[in-house]
Symmetry: C2
Subunit: 307 residues, 2 copies
DNA sequence: AAAAATACTTGACTAAGTCAACTAATTAAC
DNA sequence: GTTAATTAGTTGACTTAGTCAAGTATTTTT
């Protein structure tokens, strides 16, 4: 088990301890309402799932059947729920909230909302949004529903240019040690791209995960027959899961559709993974020369592919 | 309470329910070790905080004093901890783990790690990383450790150019309806700034909150006597808390130090709040003309200030 | 038709957590 | 420098939360 993974475990366990406290706080204030945490959870589930049965609740809330049975009996006694025996299966009883139950739940809801407002109220909206986004992500990933939220889009939106430049600047600095001159270079070339953008010749694709840009590639036409592939990158956290291949496929398919004869690209020897992908797509190295811009020595390479 | 905020509450409460389940699972498996969740938390805290006292634990873990007292007694009986009375204050007893205590904690640790591995083991590493990052963010924000972490820095780091351009592109689109041509324009002017950057004449400041860029301003020298103020913006969520004033003050102070005689800036009539700040700083409008770039009609204005 | 399984309930129990009254040491007030 | 108030920690008596296994009624499998 490497240190990085150990660090990961540390972070998650730290978070678990932290969130145990947070939930404890929320729970504490729940106590001001005659509801135990378990009771509140049960009430919530019944209120939010039409025709749920006791069995379903025990599974969903990981609760002992006997315990739940008593909670339900209590709710029935207080007039919060009623049961109706299933006609198809007489062992089952569908649970529903009465009007009193709905009122109790609404009260609980607003209390809970107030509690959460207390928790996040002092934060700037910006950060509240970020928290919500992080929570959504964690929930999505841990519940295994994450599937593939990664999408590829063509449309250029305000802010994209900056994000693309930022990704290039920060990633190449981190991974290859390039300085800000490289980012300025991207800035300039991308400006030229935007300025001369011609939908008949040029195209750009962004890979996104939940609205966050995680990769890109573009095609720039040079005349009728030659196209250049530019700004290809994948965020390191998302490498090795086929996004790069998808982007390249899109780009090359576009080139074929546009009847380009040749696609070329410029890269440096630092870009090991990218180069492997270029090679896999059929690109061949045709030129190589030393360069010292961007803060350190590297080999500038040109690859090309005849379609 | 607007719908957006309500959605936020929904998300957070959903997450709380979700994470209650997650923690419940972790807890369940803790049961295979003779430790209750509370006991495990206590053991962990003692192991990770030199010389903690019972009082501190009750506060940190929000635990009843009497309950804790009994848990501690149990630990002492089992030989997991020992206490030493404080010399400075005889009411206090410092708690420490014995060797057996440390062993028990280590066992618990490895069990907990295994549990978490079960939770995240099936996810691709990049998603694990993202989860960790999200957790760190939530913890930081909710624990209020992000407080007013707003700082102003001068140093230009890789990624800054892109972020600045992104902020301009997305904010002006959102607030003024400018299209991507405006972002391209920023791209170009900022490239020129970087290309010609001369520390003796030029300077840029970034306002950050927890590493996130939330505002910026720059001074570009035009000869010995005239300076231009550019790329002034504050993220809308951070307006009205003096960051803009701080940035302007920094910029104008720099101009004075450099013995510039005049500072000018160009803006549009859309920039109501910024213009108010310029006026407050002593800038006067000296020119105005209509312009139609960036997708809609607006007035381009020039302001200047003699130092 | 008998046996196995399922949905839910009940009784008897243990563990978890709370509350208030209690020392013993320390600090503040007069 | 004594008295009163506070604080750290303990203890007894209690309530609540949660578990386990045996129970009933119904359905499914063989």
């Amino acid at each position: 088990m490497d240190t990085e993974h150990l660090h990961l475990l540390q972070v998650i366990r730290g978070f678990n301890r932290f969130y145990t406290n947070i939930l404890g706080l929320v729970d504490l204030h729940l106590l001001g309402t005659d509801f135990s945490l378990s009771e509140a959870r049960v009430l919530f589930e019944i209120g939010n799932h039409k025709n749920c049965t006791a069995k379903e609740l025990t599974e969903k809330l990981k609760m002992d059947g006997g315990y739940l049975s008593r909670i339900l009996k209590g709710f029935e006694r207080k007039g919060f729920i009623y049961r109706s025996q299933s006609e198809a299966d007489g062992r089952k009883y569908f649970l529903s909230l009465t009007r009193e139950g709905r009122e109790a739940l609404a009260k609980l809801d607003s209390l809970s909302n107030r509690q959460i407002n207390k928790m996040i109220g002092d934060l700037p909206p910006f950060k509240q949004q970020i928290i919500a986004k992080c929570m959504t992500t964690i929930e999505k990933y841990l519940s295994g529903e994450s599937g593939s939220t990664i999408t590829i889009r063509q449309e250029l939106r305000p802010g994209d240019a900056g994000t693309l430049i930022h990704l290039h600047g920060s990633l190449y600095a981190r991974e290859c040690g390039y300085n800000y001159v490289f980012e300025a270079y991207v800035c300039n070339t991308f400006f030229e791209f935007l300025k001369n953008y011609d939908p008949g010749k040029d195209r750009i694709w962004f890979a996104e995960d939940g609205g966050q840009m995680i990769g890109a590639v573009a095609i720039v036409g040079h005349g009728e027959e030659i196209a250049q592939l530019r700004w290809f990158l994948i965020h390191p956290d998302y490498r090795g899961c086929g996004i790069g291949r998808r982007l390249l496929r899109e780009a090359l398919q576009f080139c074929k559709n546009q009847k380009y004869q040749k696609v070329f690209l410029e890269t440096t020897d630092d870009q090991k993974t990218a180069i492997q992908m270029y090679r896999n797509a059929g690109f061949k190295k045709v030129e190589e020369k030393e360069d010292c811009s961007w803060g350190l020595r590297h080999m500038e390479q040109t690859y090309e592919l005849y379609l």
